[in-house]
């Protein structure tokens, strides 16, 4: 962090949009090149961490960072600073304004924040990534980490779902995921259309069908709270997983990201600093339900 940011955690870094593309209905992927020292701050953030993105003049909101850090020559960025990806669904005022922006426009970025997924702890284990809709965004850096360090992890399964095919994210990356050794991608949608050649049904049904073994495995889930709840139930009650094996990333409409504003408390925990990544054992032990 720069000195100024250190003294004022509410000031965002500036970021320039270098790429904006539609990836699903009302969902765009924004690639942000960090300016004014932000590249430094985001030098080695972890998968599962999040950042606040500002639409200047409208507001800021927290988003899971949708990529692993990549720098310099690797992506042709002349400063060697990090570029960050955010997959953003147009829903409220901030996201609507962000959707109006194009390449060259400025956004603000504050972060990285939160604990992130313990990717080192996952090494040597079989991973099952379970993503529902826009919940796939914070899971993409997990997938990228496994692909980039394939030998470090065991068998890899991705269960990817959405309400309908037009809401599936990162579809143009499926081939790359499928081509990764010892990796399987399973798709489902709640409601199919004419173009759909894969399964239809809830992600819990897909999960029962795929039936991953709990042995030496961890699951990583992100999606709406109700999905997280039922996915964990299937994993524990039908497939024999322990809640400790099931990692989830939770969400709240937080405002500061640094444990001050109070908005994201979940019983004794603050999602912004204690999370957003928890095991279902931790979530289950909380006084208050996330549901």
């Amino acid at each position: 962090m720069t000195d100024k940011q250190q003294t004022n955690p509410m000031l965002p870094y500036l970021g320039k949009l270098v790429e904006v593309k539609d990836i699903a209905t009302e969902i765009k992927l924004f690639r942000v090149e960090m300016l004014n020292g932000g590249g430094e701050a985001f030098h080695d953030y972890k998968p599962g961490q999040f950042a606040f993105v500002s639409a200047f003049g409208v507001g800021e909101a927290p988003f899971g960072i949708a990529n692993i850090p990549h720098f310099g020559e690797q992506n042709g960025n002349r400063n060697g600073d990090a570029t960050l990806d955010f997959a953003i669904n147009r829903l409220g005022s901030v996201t609507t304004d962000l959707h109006e922006l194009g390449v060259g426009d400025m956004v603000g970025v504050r972060g990285p924040m939160g604990n992130g997924f313990p990717m080192d702890k996952f090494k040597g284990k079989n991973l099952i990534v379970i993503g529902g809709g826009i919940g796939g965004a914070p899971l993409r850096p997990v997938i990228q980490t496994v692909i980039a360090n394939r030998a470090d992890y065991g068998h890899f399964q991705i269960l990817w779902a959405a309400r309908n095919p037009s809401l599936l994210v990162f579809t143009d990356e499926y081939d790359n995921w499928r081509a990764t050794p010892d990796t399987k991608l399973h798709l489902t949608v709640d409601q199919a259309d004419d173009t759909w050649n894969y399964g239809v049904g809830l992600i819990t049904q897909l999960l029962e069908r795929v039936a991953p073994s709990p042995e030496n495995a961890v699951t990583i889930t992100c999606g709406p709270p109700i999905m997280i709840h039922f996915v964990n139930r299937v994993l524990v009650e039908k497939l024999g997983f322990m809640p400790e094996q099931n990692y989830v990333t939770l969400e709240a409409r937080m405002h500061c990201g640094i444990g001050k504003c109070g908005r994201c408390n979940l019983g004794t925990k603050l999602i912004c600093v204690d999370g957003p990544v928890f095991t279902m054992a931790e979530v289950g032990a909380l006084l208050e339900s996330f549901l």
């Binding site: 100024k4 250190q6 003294t7 004022n8 955690p9 509410m10 000031l11 965002p12 500036l14 500002s54 639409a55 200047f56 003049g57 409208v58 507001g59 800021e60 669904n89 829903l91 060259g104 426009d105 400025m106 603000g108 826009i134 709406p224 709270p225 109700i226 969400e251 709240a252 409409r253 405002h255 500061c256 640094i258 444990g259 001050k260 504003c261 109070g262 908005r263 408390n265 979940l266 019983g267 004794t268 603050l270 006084l287 208050e288 339900s289 996330f290 549901l291």
Partner: protein, 333 residues
């Protein structure tokens, strides 16, 4: 100790007001509020408790965090930290305790909030001991007292028709210097203010988790309107929202400000997440959260209990939700 007549204190305030902003209790349309003083004759000396706490001075209902200006595709950001020194006269012990509670969150818990921290640094507190306690006051039950100097820079206690002044900190020392009445020679000591102590035991934080699923919260919440006034009058509630507002156009410039404003966990949108799900959709869940925050979560995270016993929420609540009733219930079982 120092002994000052009221005229001497008034003359001293006049003197201070020339150098710094003086904030003091004023009667604003029948409500006692801490506001900048233009004429010290307007200062209210005898009151039980102000309608709003001094929290407003340090953590304003709405404050600007930065200015933003869009110029083509470029954006200019200007940090807007608070400037200037001020002195608050007539701070009540419960409000000074409220500031210590906010300090634990905004300053002692990293990272430091520079807006709050700077105001704390640049403000000197002149306390005024309560001579009488209000019907809803219960500071003595949460560790305070009507004449408790904790957190003050100078403490004034009415005595023998004037005021005994105790200089507590260097900041206090600084504003008393050069004013000859602070001679330290007085033999007069402040009498402790007589405070009735209620039969009320504040339950320690360990007691709370077992009460989480009790029906009591739903019963209590039946009459709650989720109006949030309890949080706004509270000297230690600190939840906030952040948003951007456009500034009226000047020469066609595209300027806006980022503001933060008070919020409360009693509001419905407070805990709503993307997609509309709300884990605290029910009033009883929200009401429960407020009390659990004050006496369980806040002490767990930051140390102090987030209640100073000022009783403002009891007086302000339009439907008589009474924090002492809650404490009584949780402590009794």
């Amino acid at each position: 100790m120092n002994y000052l007549t009221r005229q001497e204190v008034a003359a001293w305030l006049d003197h201070l007001a020339q150098e710094q902003t003086l904030i003091a209790p004023l009667d604003i349309a029948g409500n006692i509020l801490y506001r900048p003083v233009s004429d010290t004759k307007e200062v209210v000396w005898d009151f039980v408790r102000s309608f709003m706490s001094v929290k407003e001075v340090f953590f304003p209902p709405t404050e600007r965090l930065m200015l933003m200006e869009k110029i083509g595709q470029q954006v200019m950001l200007t940090e807007t930290l608070p400037e200037g020194n001020s002195i608050i006269f007539g701070v009540r012990p419960c409000d000074a305790r409220g500031l210590l509670t906010l300090d634990a969150l905004f300053i002692e818990n990293e990272p430091v909030d520079p807006y709050y921290a700077r105001r704390r640094e640049n403000t000197t507190l002149i306390g005024l001991a309560c001579q009488s306690v209000g019907a809803s006051c219960f500071c003595t039950n949460v560790g305070g007292a009507p004449d408790d100097p904790t957190g003050m820079d100078i403490m004034l206690t009415a005595s023998n028709g004037g005021y005994v002044a105790e200089i507590i900190t260097e900041k206090g020392e600084k504003i008393s210097k050069k004013f000859p009445v602070f001679d330290g020679l007085s033999e007069i000591r402040p009498h402790p203010t007589h405070a009735r102590k209620r039969e009320l035991k504040v339950p320690p934080k360990e007691v709370w988790p077992a009460r989480f699923n009790d029906d009591f919260w739903a019963e209590m919440a039946e009459r709650c309107l989720s109006c949030r006034i309890c949080a706004y009058v509270c000297p230690s509630c600190r939840c906030f929202d952040i948003r951007d507002e456009a500034l009226p156009g000047m020469d066609g410039r595209n300027q806006s400000e980022r503001i933060r404003c008070w919020d409360s966990c009693n509001g419905i949108p407070y805990r709503r997440v993307a997609g509309g799900h709300n884990p605290r959709f029910m009033k009883n869940q929200r009401l429960r959260n407020r009390f659990f925050c004050k006496f369980y979560y806040f002490p767990l995270h930051y140390g102090p209990v987030s209640c100073t016993g000022c009783g403002r929420c009891i007086d302000a609540c339009p439907v008589n939700v009474d924090i002492t009733e809650v404490l009584g219930y949780v402590g009794r079982r």
